[in-house]
Symmetry: C2
Subunit: 356 residues, 2 copies
Amino acid sequence: MPELRKDPIVGRWVIIAHERARRPYDFKAAGATHPRSQVCPFCEGQEGMTPPEILAYRDPGSRPNGPGWRVRVVPNRFPALQIEGELEKRGDGIYDRMAGIGAHEVIIESPRHHVSTSDLAPNEVREVLWVYRDRLVDLKRDGRLVHGMLFKNVGENAGASLEHTHSQLIATPIVPISVWEEMTGALEFYNYRGRCIYCDMVQQETAVEKRVVLDTPYFTAFCPYASRFPFETWIVPKVHESHFENIPGPAVDDLSRVLHEVLVKLELALDSPAYNYIVHTAPFDHAGLPHYHWHIEVIPRLTKVAGFEWGTGFYINPVPPEQAAAFLREVEAATLRPGTSVRSESTEGRPQPVRS
Amino acid sequence: MPELRKDPIVGRWVIIAHERARRPYDFKAAGATHPRSQVCPFCEGQEGMTPPEILAYRDPGSRPNGPGWRVRVVPNRFPALQIEGELEKRGDGIYDRMAGIGAHEVIIESPRHHVSTSDLAPNEVREVLWVYRDRLVDLKRDGRLVHGMLFKNVGENAGASLEHTHSQLIATPIVPISVWEEMTGALEFYNYRGRCIYCDMVQQETAVEKRVVLDTPYFTAFCPYASRFPFETWIVPKVHESHFENIPGPAVDDLSRVLHEVLVKLELALDSPAYNYIVHTAPFDHAGLPHYHWHIEVIPRLTKVAGFEWGTGFYINPVPPEQAAAFLREVEAATLRPGTSVRSESTEGRPQPVRS
């Protein structure tokens, strides 16, 4: 059973994943974390290689755990947290721990062997977003869990161990510290000014325009004023809402286009970099919050300069966000046919599961 | 002039380094950040390749910016912050910024082309530590600066762009968020219990022993209970002190041995991994603090699994710290002659400045 442990100084919780434990000599070869296979377990027709599915959007008449799906959710084979068990909260001297209870799911975004969300058509992205919503709504019912974090790693430098386009969902019995810090900071602003800081950001960004990448009826995509990373891009809904899972239908349609276009722009501008995106959303156990505002942060993984920045929170960004946004605005993503791959090395139809 | 910008939500300051700005296409080739050279600018005899020295420990009769030094401090050629100018604090709508004033110095730890602190003899490490102290004491006098962060990157994966063993010092007009969070968390504990949390940690760790790597008269080195990274190791002084620069002489002697031995152990155990270490110390503008406690965090850079962890603060550590500490205790570093290189590919005497 993995364990959740709390840093007694800053309050950060860490997953100590005993089940994933490796002997130190495993690190000597900088090898892959997961066993490699010649066949991609996420491709249509290989459903038997994953644990049984939790949810799938399927064509009529197709059977669970067989072909005929469009988006498919399965438990992670190497879960950081386990879904069965009790929380067993307890102290250990000055320290706090609990059992590593939680969900760790994989959202397989396409039956075909695409490698990035940008390879999907916007209507395929739309279904992925609906799946995100459905899984959050379902996991919310589990009284042990308080937060669901959706994220995506593309490319080895971003932590992806399988190439086939997929997202992950980790639902936890604690609120991750980054969400906690955002909620605390946003509440402080709200208490002082009576407004949501994210709403203010959207207003200022759309007014001054210079950091805006895309502006649509429901969303503004911009490079934030204090970007930690070159070409960091946030996608923020224009209408205030703290919980992603409350997103209305027309906004899902819009977001599928915005997310697709932002990723296409980044990939065209930066030659298909490794990237992460993370859906920041309020914890389950809160009703609608006036001070918090869900959003997506997209982070291309370009620099290794950032060595010590991990440990210190002290970021040096060599590209001013105004310059990054101007460049991304210029990229002619709009001329691309939706669903056209921007990757010259497109691997569609050629199973090639492991990138590293 | 670089700019310091504050994230209005979490309060994180970021350096936007205009001077380092690159055009987006620079990122297409995952190349080095700094121009490469065949000659190592940090080796003895190449003093003309660096900016003029700020401080050097020299042999009697040797001249500044010539050979004959043992440890040498120079301004970073590609500084993240600039030492000349006024702070120019101002708002920009809801945002806050100030000029990127600060010091960015490089501490060249040896005239010889060693690649890690572990390649130095403990008495050479001792002089490096004294230089750390001297630079903090000097920079403290600059009323614009409030904090000095000492850190070291070894290996390309840890962000090092030059191989020759060196540390860096960034002194800033703001307190880095990681230090701020530690100070806030530690103060909360102190207000509640009337004790320093780090002192409590040292007490519990030395009592239960299972996470201890080394225990000496002045220091305890241990893998912290909520380690974010495999083999993360903290070196914490046993006597309470908030400011590194107040370290007494005998503790410097002891620390030089502890730091050297911890690094040798990590390099033997993990086949000379890339690593960072960071000296966490209280801001300049505070007198001795009863609740904060300086320490060094050593982080081997082993996993890429940690992709999204950057952005979320949500860490998954596959190696329990008890297991890491047990392994490090077993490594027979003590049998090595001090100053013996543990790197089979030792590059001493063979200028080879760029690792990547």
